[in-house]
Amino acid sequence: MIEFRDVTLTYPEAAKPTLTGVNLEIEEGELCLVAGRTGVGKSTLLGCINGLVPHFTGGHLRGAVLVDGRSTADHPPRELAEVVGVVGQDPLAGFVTDTVEEELAYAMEQLAVPSDVMRKRVEETLDLLGIAELRSRSLRSLSGGQQQRVAIGSVLTAHPRILVLDEPTSALDPTAAEEVLGAIMRLVHDLGVTVVIAEHRLERVLQYADRVLYLPGDGSVISGTPTEVMEFSEVAPPVVQLGRLAGWSPLPLSVRDARRRASELREALEGHPAPAPSTPNGTSSDAALHAEGVLVTYGDVVAVRKVDLDLFAGSIVAMMGRNGSGKSSLMWALQGSGKRDSGTIRVFSGQGVAEDPAKLSSREARQRVGLVPQTPGDLLYLSTVAAECTQADVDAGAEAGECDRLLERLVPGIDREIHPRDLSEGQRLALVLAIQLTASPAVILLDEPTRGLDYGAKTNLAKILGELAASGRAVMVSTHDVEFVATCADRVVVMAQGEVVANGPTAEVVVASPAFAPQVAKILYPSEWLNVAQVAHALEPTR
């Protein structure tokens, strides 16, 4: 179905090729997972399939890519529209029209599908993806999961034989991601569509994949079954990491596989006490921020409903909950620059002085509470990393070079002369975090920093947050990523409809919950193990 023949791709002005000598073949009806760290060329590989690379992006492609027998060399993307459907990360960015029904019809209009066939296919697609009741809704009024399903539907109506998805769930909360992945599985099983999907959170897709294309980062692509590839893959979900630790062969790919194998491991761990909640060296006397009855409303919508919250110096709090449950509104209110209708917020700085950040100037407020927003790039406006760092020193009144030093400690080796836009997601996040830390706030808030980060970048972020907490700061991070929460958070706050529905130590909140339990906890239930590192630590003396 898809064939790469000795493909080497070099972008203009790039020192070395992004893909070198790639030979691979993807059979009809396969679900093919593309895995690898950020920046190794996953998107490039996906773009090659419908010719967007190099027709749209530029670059030089040697070798041949054959799709359903057609070469992308002489078929630009628009001529392949009825063979390959492409869905990107941000569905809203790809919408052309403004209602669901018209969006579904758009590709067919371009392909000159007769009117009656169009009508029929739109109805079929609406039912297939379970979006029939949304048909006349405006695209912007839909939730993220609904938008992504419409985006998939809008390419499906052209009846492509291949569906290419570039991180379709990275911007979605876990439930919405399940909706979308469920829809994709149905397409694979019921329609026999060939699906090529890139996904950071392998734990969601790995067990369904027929083949994994692994990009180690040197430009090559290794193709194999999931079990084969996971033996050596640098990116691996916790279930695989646990399997490697326990020496299971073949490696388990799903929680179900692992749990059936794990009785021995569970026994081995029995003698060890389940890890004690890693922190509370924080007591109420160390409170860094105290919020009471915080209320945020937008018109009729109550975003945050009378929330009480304490953040303690030296601890990391994870905030979880659906998209739209009020996490961001709460963070902005706590920082002081967001809207707050009522309630009190006090930040304790040094000698027991309590201040309300909303009453301070924005310059003073950021010296108390620093916030890294959901799209960190919004804070960047200069043309080099070095300029941003210098500006940050001036803004914060810190000594020259402070921000640069912080950045070097967070992520070493970033080229200071490149444009902030050219940084990877993880690097850009580190830059903004460094800028905010230059003002040395006692409380630091991060709004969904794990979006688009791979396992390596997430481990790094967890380490950074750990160091921040160790240096006596209070850290709060909102995220959808349960595995990330399991590795770094001391406490978890769960929000729903603007209210706090759970607030307690991570293990207590997370282990018994079907939605929020990390893989390790599910495998080793009922003991309260959260991550592979804990298990490894417990087993160490016995080995």
């Binding site: 993307p77 067919m108 924005s362």
Partner: protein, 372 residues
């Protein structure tokens, strides 16, 4: 009063073709442009108001009719005010005298202030009323026809322009959204109030954001088949473009000539016909080369003919009536007299009310699922 059973062609609720509403509204506007008779103009406004109130939808763009009425009042008021100030004396019935501003001799013939006559005010009122009526007629088309549907039914030669406008319309709210986000984010860096850097701090991130989005959109459109030309020569595309644009210019000139009775007759009807023919040829030629279809195209049925026809009929009757008896359409103010109400023109304007009954009712939006 029991509802009269409607004939089948307009019984089922549906959206009328937007083109039909536009033709009707242009017909009404043309009729209004031919007269300064205040009685006739008021009847035109009443007819348009009746049709709008009985056939508009609840969508956001359809709530603007009141705004057009207000704007009409502003026009009339402005017209009268200027007339009083600049050239108030026109007839003998002087109502009052404004203080006059002495002007140098060089400005002879121009007078500011001075006596204001009833004739002057009435002439300004009639003229302002005509302008207001034209505006209200065109506004009614905007209220009755979904502007986006109108864009969708443009001929395929104009398809590219149509989709550019559609995309632009959806980009505007995105720009506002990202400007809001960036402005909020600025405060996180703690430098509010320094106006000098506002430009680089807000415009730069917003523009890079917009650029990123437009690249994503272009990639998405490309991979969904936008712009498939299936091997049509560039030269033939140029010829059709010239035909279409030239024809449209002809139509514009012709319409202008038709509306302004002081231009030579050659720029009137003949120009319009030539322009129409040329552009129709262009549209047909371009329509044949673009392999593209429409999803649920708006249909043109009997109801559309009736609605568009009623507008055309109103304009036609007004034309005939203006050649037969121009005096009653532009009533004289010297001597001052009550304006006459000509029978033929009145009947003509009333024909314009037919859509209030003949156009099918709007479909009621069905509540499916829980709207957010």
């Amino acid at each position: 009063m029991p509802e009269i059973r409607r004939p089948e062609w307009n019984r089922l609720p549906r959206d009328l073709h937007p083109g039909a509403w536009w033709i009707w509204a242009l017909g009404m506007a043309t009729a209004a442009s031919r007269t300064t008779n205040p009685l006739l103009l008021v009847i035109v406004i009443a007819v348009v108001g009746l049709v709008v109130s009985s056939r508009r939808s609840d969508d956001p763009w359809a709530r603007g009719f009141k705004m057009y009425l207000m704007f009409g009042l502003v026009i009339i008021a402005g017209r009268i005010a200027f007339r009083m100030l600049l050239d108030g004396q026109y007839g003998e019935h002087v109502l009052f005298t404004l203080p006059e501003l002495p002007l140098p001799d060089a400005a002879a013939g121009i007078r500011i202030g001075g006596p204001v006559s009833l004739e002057g005010i009435l002439a300004a009122l009639y003229d302002g009323l005509r302008l207001a009526t034209l505006l209200i007629c065109l506004g009614s088309a905007n209220v009755l026809a979904n502007p986006k549907r109108m864009l969708r039914s443009v001929p395929s030669a104009l398809y590219e322009i149509g989709s550019a406008v559609t995309v632009a319309l959806s980009v505007a709210p995105q720009l506002i959204e990202s400007a809001g986000r960036v402005t909020k984010a600025r405060r996180l860096r703690g430098d509010v109030g320094r106006r000098t850097r506002w430009f680089s701090q807000v415009i730069v991130p917003v523009m890079t954001d917009a650029l990123d989005r437009s690249l994503l959109l272009a990639a998405a459109m490309d991979s969904r088949g936008y712009g498939r030309t299936s091997g049509v020569a560039r030269s033939s595309r140029r010829v059709t473009a010239v035909l279409v644009i030239g024809g449209l210019l002809g139509i514009c000139a012709g319409t202008y000539g038709l509306l302004d009775s002081s231009t030579p007759w050659l720029i009137g009807m003949p120009m319009l016909v030539v322009g129409l023919t040329v552009s129709v040829i262009g549209f047909i030629a371009s329509g044949q080369r673009v392999p593209r279809t429409r999803y649920r195209p708006d249909t043109w049925n009997l109801a559309e003919f009736v609605v568009a026809g009623s507008g055309v009929a109103t304009a036609a009757v007004m034309f005939v009536s203006s050649t037969v008896n121009p005096g009653v359409l532009n009533p004289s103010l010297q001597p001052l007299s009550w304006p006459p109400l000509p029978l033929m023109a009145t009947v003509g304007v009333l024909i314009g009310a037919v859509p209030a009954w003949a156009a099918p009712v709007r479909p009621k939006p069905r509540v499916q699922g829980a709207p957010r």
